[in-house]
Symmetry: C2
Subunit: 149 residues, 2 copies
């Protein structure tokens, strides 16, 4: 049986879909004002983007009413959320501070392949079973960063 090709979207679209998905999961609905707030973007821009996402078949949208994800919109949102969580968990292993993790993940989640993600997942599992090794890696990081200041 042929597998459905995964739908794609620009970085900005992915951010919106991820955010809409997150809000629906958390509160049961997604309002323009909250999407705007969370993405740090003007409400008008959000309305505009949601209209384009609707035109592209990624959300169902009715003026002044809420937004829901279509099937392909949901696919993209889930994929990006999955990447987000995988990357966050992985970076957390190394004691990188939370804000930096957040920024890195936000940047990386739109660009990383499934293969590389698999490498990170495997690495994470293995490192969780080898705390001694993780300790050595962390020391190495400290040594390195001290060397530069």
């Amino acid at each position: 049986m042929p597998t459905t090709p995964p739908p794609t979207a620009s970085r900005a679209r992915e951010d919106y879909l991820e955010q809409i998905h997150k809000l629906i999961e958390e509160k049961g609905y997604a309002r323009v004002v909250d999407v705007a707030q969370n993405l740090g973007i003007a409400q008008a821009s959000v309305t505009n983007m949601i209209q384009r996402l609707d035109a592209d078949g990624l959300v169902d949208y009715e003026k002044y009413r809420g937004v829901v994800l279509t099937e392909s919109g949901l696919d993209i949102a889930k994929a990006i959320t999955d990447r987000h969580e995988t990357l966050t968990r992985f970076l957390e292993l190394f004691g990188v501070d939370d804000e930096t993790i957040y920024d890195d993940v936000e940047g990386m989640e739109h660009h990383i392949s499934e293969s590389t993600l698999e490498a990170f997942r495997a690495l994470q599992e293995e490192l969780e079973r080898q705390p001694a090794m993780l300790g050595r890696i962390r020391s190495r990081m400290k040594a390195r960063s001290k060397k530069r200041g």
Copy 2:
């Protein structure tokens, strides 16, 4: 002594600077036509961007003559090249195929923090000393990808 804050540039600007740097290293000079070729972009677009880079003080440019990097342009180019190489070497450990590595690196290099980069470097050093562990990770990856098809 206070360290100079690293200059920043948009993703596209970073790509141009990296490419210009690479060409200068390799051939001694950077022509518009080669930058265009390597980035897969029209020559006219390259001319246009180089003019903006010049206006921003990142390159020195004279019409119909070559381009050279200014000090801040060179700083950015070096930083991005360093990220590029670090990420490439790191991903190569896991047997991800070359084209995928190239794409991932191209995406990630513009977004990753120095802390996370340090983690990758430390991880790489340690994994090179622990081939058994690297083997386990690779098996884990294979098992995972088989599980999905």
